[in-house]
């Protein structure tokens, strides 16, 4: 039976591929493909789970294909099916099935009808890969797909300003989650010295044995997992993205941000529970974070005057409680809670437009001039202060800016003296020099020791420049490519390994880089020079270029469509376990790469069209 596990990935994959080639305005076929796919998936899942229960609900591990292998690193696809997967599989299939049926009529005549179902199926595919994953590497594939499909769903109304802005914002938070996972994988590679599967984690002795000798790295891994899970599940301090994700059509907000997407962090915590089960400090930390999130998010939910943000924050509060349940070891309860919360919030969001007639009627018949609330028992000053804090969402949104992105922008701006021409003029020859010298083995050992971090930092400068580039689109793009090359060079100093690995890493980058560059040049020919200082909204006019460029962007960010995705992990595995600085620099580079690229994509192809909209009036439509 376990060998049939990939069927749950193949069904949505088939549906997604079919949906891609359907004609754009054939609503019937598109929606039929979507709910047909989900219907089949749901049916198969129910039968499968019934059968599995009949067999006594065993844990099924399936080792799939080895995609890459060297002396000490294996990248392979693994699948695992246990009770956690079964619940996520069923809840996901039920909700997505219902919501695709719902959207079939709800989105009637909407210009993005096909795009909506494409993205939904793609999301669902990512969801299935994530929940069926048997190891971190496989999970990471699904994880990345969830991120990009979220970006596309939030910016569904891509011709408007706020959806695009918020999509980029959410993507930036997701990117932190991604890097959390990369770092966790890196550290666990050094902890286990082999590719570890989730089911091996259930072997308590094995885990215990490894952690005993490497308690620090164990804590580090747990923390990275917690960061990733918190980012994806909108726990503190990342919570403010969730309400801002509610920019797409109501059903997509309902299913993704009300339920499935936001509970993926919960899934990650449950999956890795056996790993951190014995790290008491981590468990206390998780419970504490969950509790603080629950309390603060409830406060924020209570002051919300818009219905969707209220539901979003209430959902966050419940997820905080689920984190507590997991940390206490009540996994079954947490699963039950997850399912209930997912259904409840989906439904609440779907009926949210009814709130007007319902509550106005209630007000009409039951109005009391002033309802007493808990807060009335506080003194005025405490009450006002708390109210303002909650209204400002505890500044969570601005904190992300103030302490994360602004310093980077600041640093980027400090580097203004390094004009791009100088940068390329000076550093590119130096890089080439270094490469030649290295190839001829002229470096002393001391140099070899410091070269990775030096080069890594130079790479970081490149990408910072790219990220803060206000004008030139081409340079911003090129800088990202140079950054990747620099990183590859940096790590090649670390230890000697087959240069094939470098090429696996760089092949996707270069291919995507060249395709993207060609797209940019084509656009310049058609539209004249495009600057990065505003949105241009060109996707409507050049849908094909937009699509190809999106693929190029994905390739350049290391999305699992090119070998770079594997190369990224392989390259990371060559960072030594004591090189935390290097790991930090490289992972920061990865975060910024992704942001810089998605920013470029958003600026060119999304937002209000620059020809029909002046920049400074009425952008809040």
């Amino acid at each position: 039976m376990q060998n049939y596990l990939p069927i749950f990935i193949l069904i949505p994959l088939a549906g997604f591929l079919i949906s891609l080639v359907l004609p754009k305005n054939d609503e019937r076929k598109i929606s039929f493909t979507a709910f047909g796919t989900l219907g089949v998936q749901l049916l198969v899942a129910v039968l499968f789970v019934a059968n599995w229960l009949g067999l006594g609900a065993p844990d099924w591990q399936m080792t799939g294909w080895i995609l890459f292998k060297n002396s000490d690193y294996v990248f392979q696809l693994d699948f695992l099916f246990d009770y956690i997967t079964s619940v996520y599989l069923l809840v996901g299939a039920i909700l997505t099935f219902l919501v695709t049926l719902y959207s079939r009529f709800y989105l009637h005549r909407e210009p993005g009808y096909k795009r909506f179902f494409n993205t939904t199926l793609f999301f669902y595919l990512g969801y299935c890969i994530t929940i069926l994953a048997g190891n971190m590497e496989t999970l990471f594939i699904g994880w990345e797909m969830l991120g990009i499909s979220s970006f596309l769903l939030i910016s569904f109304y891509r011709e408007r300003y706020l959806p695009v802005k918020n999509a980029v914002k959410v993507f930036s938070i997701y990117r932190i989650g991604d890097v959390g996972i990369i770092l966790a994988m890196w550290a666990s590679h050094h902890l286990w010295h082999q590719n570890i599967t989730f089911s091996q984690l259930k072997n308590a002795e094995l885990v215990h044995e490894h952690l005993q000798t490497h308690s620090f790295i164990g804590v580090f891994i747990s923390l990275m997992i917690l960061v990733s899970a918190s980012a994806k599940s909108a726990q503190l301090p990342f919570s403010s993205w969730l309400p801002r994700a509610m920019e797409g059509p109501t059903p997509s907000s309902a299913i993704f941000y009300g339920s499935l997407s936001v509970h993926i962090g919960v899934f990650l915590m449950m999956r890795t529970f056996p790993f951190w089960e014995h790290q008491i400090s981590i468990r206390i930390l998780i419970a504490a974070m969950g509790l603080i999130t629950a309390i603060i998010a409830t406060g924020i939910a209570r002051v919300q005057s818009s219905v969707k943000s209220q539901i979003a924050y209430s959902s966050i509060a419940q997820i905080g409680l689920i984190f507590i349940e997991i940390s206490l070891g009540f996994e079954k309860l947490a699963l039950f809670h997850f399912a209930g919360n997912a259904f409840l919030r989906t439904y609440q969001l779907l009926v949210s437009p009814s709130v007007v007639s319902y509550l106005i009627r209630e007000q009409f018949y039951h109005f009391e001039p002033r309802d007493k609330t808990v807060e009335d028992s506080f003194s005025d000053k405490i009450q006002n202060t708390l109210y303002l804090l909650c209204l400002k969402e505890w500044n969570l949104d601005s904190i992300m800016y103030q302490y994360l992105w602004n310093p980077m922008k600041w640093a980027g701006n400090k580097l203004n003296f390094l004009t791009v021409k100088r940068l390329i003029g000076i550093f590119v020859p130096i890089l080439m020099g270094i490469f030649i010298i290295k190839e001829s083995n002229y470096f002393s050992n001391d140099w070899t020791l410091y070269m990775p971090i030096i080069l890594g930092s130079i790479g970081l400068i490149f990408v910072l420049k790219s990220f803060t580039q206000r004008r030139s689109l081409r340079l911003s793009w090129i800088l990202v490519i140079i950054n990747h090359i620099t990183i590859a060079l940096a790590i090649s100093f670390n230890e000697s390994y087959d240069s094939k690995e470098t090429w696996i890493y760089l092949s996707g980058i270069l291919m995507a880089g060249i395709i993207g560059y060609a797209c940019i040049m084509r656009l310049f020919r058609l539209e004249g020079k495009i600057l990065l200082n505003r949105f241009h909204g060109l996707s409507e006019e050049h849908p094909k270029i937009a699509f190809v460029f999106l693929l190029a962007c994905l390739g350049l960010t290391g999305f699992p469509i090119t070998p770079t995705f594997i190369g990224e992990d392989v390259i990371f595995s060559h960072i030594h376990e004591d090189q935390f600085a290097l790991a930090a620099v490289v992972s920061l580079s990865f975060i910024l790469d992704g942001l810089s690229i998605m920013r470029i994509y958003a600026r060119i192809f999304m937002g209000p069209n620059s020809k029909t909209h002046t920049e400074f009036s009425n952008r809040y439509f």
Partner: protein
């Protein structure tokens, strides 16, 4: 701080701003109005050009769309030639026609609004809106909130700005980042001029422009604040907020943000200008593109008008049905009743139908049992002095725990999500596969209980409540019934039963539900009015007075109130009062007629709905139409007033024989009863703003769904129960969602009056407000001579004869097969008489 600010008068600027901002009331009181009411003092095309140049609104379809319409023959080529010739002269016709159809046109210059404030980005590279708007919107929304938040705005009973001051004073946390703005807020003497002199510098002539830029960057919120300031009663839980307060706070937040971002110091915007910017008030320069668009627009309109006028002239004189009437029905003038009445008349040729505004000339506030407020049931501009109370037993409302606030607290939510959560999945499942009525539905029937009583009579013992007279006195009743009957020309030949049929709508998941109800009842169902007027007309005392005034309602005639649900195509008769066996039997017969007419009406409506197969039988379709109204996933429960284009004021015979495709408001009127035009004046006074308002709101929401309409409703998020926005930080979106307007052809309303042109001319000149609609061409006025059927068009202050170019319209015999043929608008047909 006593600097003088020459060239800036605060009161004046606020007044101007309020004039131009959207005037849409909170959702509960949604009433259609001319979206560009602020420009109504100008002729239509000039007004549109001005709105476009200054405020950047799209005001016509695009040139490409028009060219497509011309290509599809939906703009008649002959009419296009006529319009060009009339506007540009015969010589230039060919040249202009080329321009219209083929020439590459230069792009329109960017609007003037926003240019001054855009300097923040240009000069200082500051994105002020994204820093200020979210906080500002949140504060306003929380202050105005009617019941979404659980923890309300902590300062009660104070005006907005005072509440903000108090919040700032009594809190450890500041709204501001820096000291300057905070101190200015708390300083009693700070004036708006002070703030503006910081932001703009000492250039008072720029202040007005700055404020326009600032407020029109979020016209939705500003419009809502301005409306609530003027009409605080549109919020049940009232608030004191003013546009001035909003601007003060916004300027302070702006100063604070700029202080924070430019900590090294900055100067006001006015000082950064190198060249003067065009001001909003500068004269509007001529634009060829706009002229081309206006020609296209008229050609598009006249392509349709011409058919209608031809139809009215060509229609074979209907043999006036003689003999006894089976029943008479009084309906709202609403365009949605147009086809329903046609079906009634064709099923039962002995019945008569009449159209009158759906409040049936009785204006009052209504209080249902257990209601804590009054709702107004008459056109929005009227303020009634009467109160009608529902009497009977207290009703229990079904509740839906999904809207319960307990699910939002983490402790109660913990239990709810693990119990109710699973129930939600089942409910969702049920609603997708078998939609049904639920507490979430806004149903027209909930407006008044069928079995309760109404206190219609004035009671000398109670007399008054909160300044309103409870019930009507006999002569007050007689006046109203007389007014209504005379205005529609129903003064003799009464049938045994006269139905007064109000209308309402039912929908779910629809924040704009009030827009679907009766506009003449302030966006509510017309059931109470229908019942009240029937009870009045049934009173022997009232009939005695009416008899003296020339209306002899025989004792054998009874009036019965009813409600037509336009979404579900269902009817409820308030027939409890029919006691006599004779009438019970008679009514049962009529009820059958109504039922088949409703089925057919449902079928006619269904042709516009993709998800319903129009070829099914009327009964099957009707069932699907009912499901539609309670389906959560259906954003188009009905299409409301979409495609409206006409308003006919005249006898039913004027249009009985033409197929108007549900596009016409029908107001009954008999010129013989009103040779002087006295009742006509009242009709036009209401019809121009009501029908014209509906028509223009559809027009503008259709041509600019970004700024004048609400855009697609799918991402809408309900704010504070008074408005909708996109996402959580967006501006409020007044206007109609695109789902309501997408099938609408944006053309102006043509109002056709059956009376002699000189009488019509004299009548409209008696009211300047009404005259404005016609003289400025916001509504096109035509008169049909009741004796000769000659058509005259009102242009430039006088009536000119018009000869339709359509020579012979097509006849149709089978409406059903026509309906099944396609989804688009039909041309005007003559209905074949056998």
């Amino acid at each position: 701080m006593t600097t003088t600010h020459k060239g800036f008068h605060l009161e004046h600027v606020l007044h101007e701003l309020k004039h131009y901002l959207p005037a849409q009331a909170p959702l509960m009181d949604f009433v259609h109005h001319n979206t560009l009411h602020a420009f109504q003092h100008l002729p239509f095309h000039e007004a549109l050009r001005k709105a476009h140049t200054t405020l950047g609104y799209q005001v016509y379809l695009s040139v490409d769309q028009f060219r497509e319409l011309h290509h599809a023959k939906r703009i008649n080529d002959d009419i296009l030639n006529n319009v060009i010739e009339k506007k540009k002269g015969a010589k230039k016709t060919t040249q202009w026609k080329y321009k219209l159809l083929h020439q590459e046109l230069e792009s329109v210059p960017s609007p003037r609004i926003g240019a001054l404030r855009g300097q923040w980005k240009k000069v200082y590279n500051i994105d002020l809106d994204s820093m200020v708007h979210p906080n500002l919107f949140r504060l306003i929304s929380s202050y105005l909130d009617q019941g979404i938040s659980i923890w309300h705005f902590p300062i009660e009973n104070k005006s907005f700005l005072e509440a903000i001051k108090e919040l700032e004073k009594k809190s450890w946390l500041s709204l501001f980042k820096g000291k300057r703005a905070k101190n200015m807020l708390l300083d009693e003497h700070t004036t708006l001029e002070d703030l503006l002199s910081i932001l703009v510098g000492s250039h008072p002539h720029l202040y007005e422009q700055y404020l326009f830029d600032q407020q029109f960057a979020h016209q939705g919120w500003s419009g809502m604040v301005s409306t609530v300031e003027d009409l605080p009663q549109t919020l049940l839980d009232r608030r004191q907020i003013s546009l001035h307060d909003l601007i003060m706070l916004e300027c302070l937040l702006e100063i604070d943000t700029i202080d924070y971002l430019l900590s090294s110091g900055w100067i006001g915007l006015g000082n950064t200008l190198e060249n003067p910017l065009p001001s909003l008030l500068d004269p509007i320069e001529h634009s060829e593109v706009m002229e081309i668009l206006s020609i296209f627009q008229e050609a598009f309109e006249w392509t349709y008008y011409d058919q209608v006028l031809a139809g009215i002239q060509q229609e074979s004189k209907m043999p006036k049905s003689t003999g006894t009437k089976s029943f008479q029905g009084l309906f709202c003038i609403d365009d949605r009743e147009c086809s329903f009445r046609r079906y009634l008349e064709s099923i039962d040729p002995h019945c008569d139908t009449y159209g009158t505004p759906g409040f049936f000339s009785v204006e009052f506030f209504y209080q249902p049992i257990g209601g804590k407020f009054y709702s107004k049931l008459c056109p929005a501009p009227v303020t009634p002095k009467y109160l009608i109370k529902e009497i009977g037993d207290e009703k229990k409302w079904e509740t839906d725990p999904h809207f319960s606030k307990h699910s939002h607290n983490f402790y109660t939510g913990w239990i709810i999500s693990q119990t109710l959560g699973f129930w939600s999945a089942l409910k969702l499942f049920a609603n997708i596969f078998k939609p049904s009525m639920s507490p979430a539905t806004a149903s027209s029937l909930r407006h008044m209980d069928k079995f309760s009583q109404l206190q219609v009579d004035y009671d000398a013992l109670i007399q008054q409540e909160n300044g309103l007279q409870i019930g009507f006195k006999i002569d007050e009743m007689a006046n109203r019934v007389e007014g209504m009957l005379k205005s529609i020309g129903l003064v003799k030949d009464f049938a045994p039963i006269v139905y007064a049929v109000g209308h309402g709508a039912s929908s779910v998941n629809n924040p704009h539900y009030a827009a679907y109800d009766c506009g003449a009842c302030s966006g509510r169902a017309g059931s109470v009015n229908a019942r009240v007027v029937s009870q009045m007309a049934n009173k022997p005392e009232v009939r005695a007075i009416l008899r003296e005034r020339g209306i002899d309602i025989p004792d054998e005639t009874i009036f019965v109130g009813a409600l037509h649900d336009t979404t579900r195509d269902e009817m409820v008769f308030y027939d409890d009062e029919i006691k006599d066996e004779f009438y019970v039997k008679l009514h049962a017969q009529h009820a059958k007629v109504f039922e088949s007419a409703l089925d057919l009406n449902a079928k006619e409506r269904s042709r516009r709905f993709e998800s319903i197969n129009t070829e099914l039988s009327p009964k099957e379709i009707h069932e699907k139409i009912r499901l539609r109204s309670v389906s959560l996933f259906e954003p188009r429960p009905e299409l409301n007033h979409a495609t409206n284009a006409l308003c006919l004021v005249g006898r039913r015979e004027l249009s009985k024989g033409i197929f108007l495709d549900r596009r016409s408001f029908l107001n009954s009127f008999d010129y013989r009863v009103d040779p002087e035009g006295n009742y006509l004046l009242n009709i036009l006074k209401a019809a121009a703003p009501v029908c014209g308002g509906i028509n223009l709101e559809y027009y503008f929401s259709r041509v600019d769904s970004e700024k004048l309409g609400a855009g697609t409703k799918l991402p809408h998020n309900v704010m504070g129960l008074f408005g909708v926005a996109n996402g959580i930080d967006g501006d409020l979106r007044p206007g109609l969602p695109s789902q309501m307007t997408e099938v609408h052809d944006p053309i102006r309303l043509m109002l056709i009056v059956e009376h002699f042109p000189d009488v019509v001319l004299k009548t409209i000149q008696r009211s300047t407000e009404t005259y404005e609609w016609f003289i400025n061409d916001w509504v096109i006025l035509a008169s049909v001579n009741p004796e000769t059927k000659e058509v005259q068009i009102f242009e430039n202050g006088q009536f000119n004869p018009y000869k339709p170019i359509n020579k012979q319209l097509e006849h149709i015999r089978e409406i059903e097969s026509l309906l099944e043929s396609n989804q688009e608008n039909f041309p005007v047909y003559l209905i074949q008489q056998d």
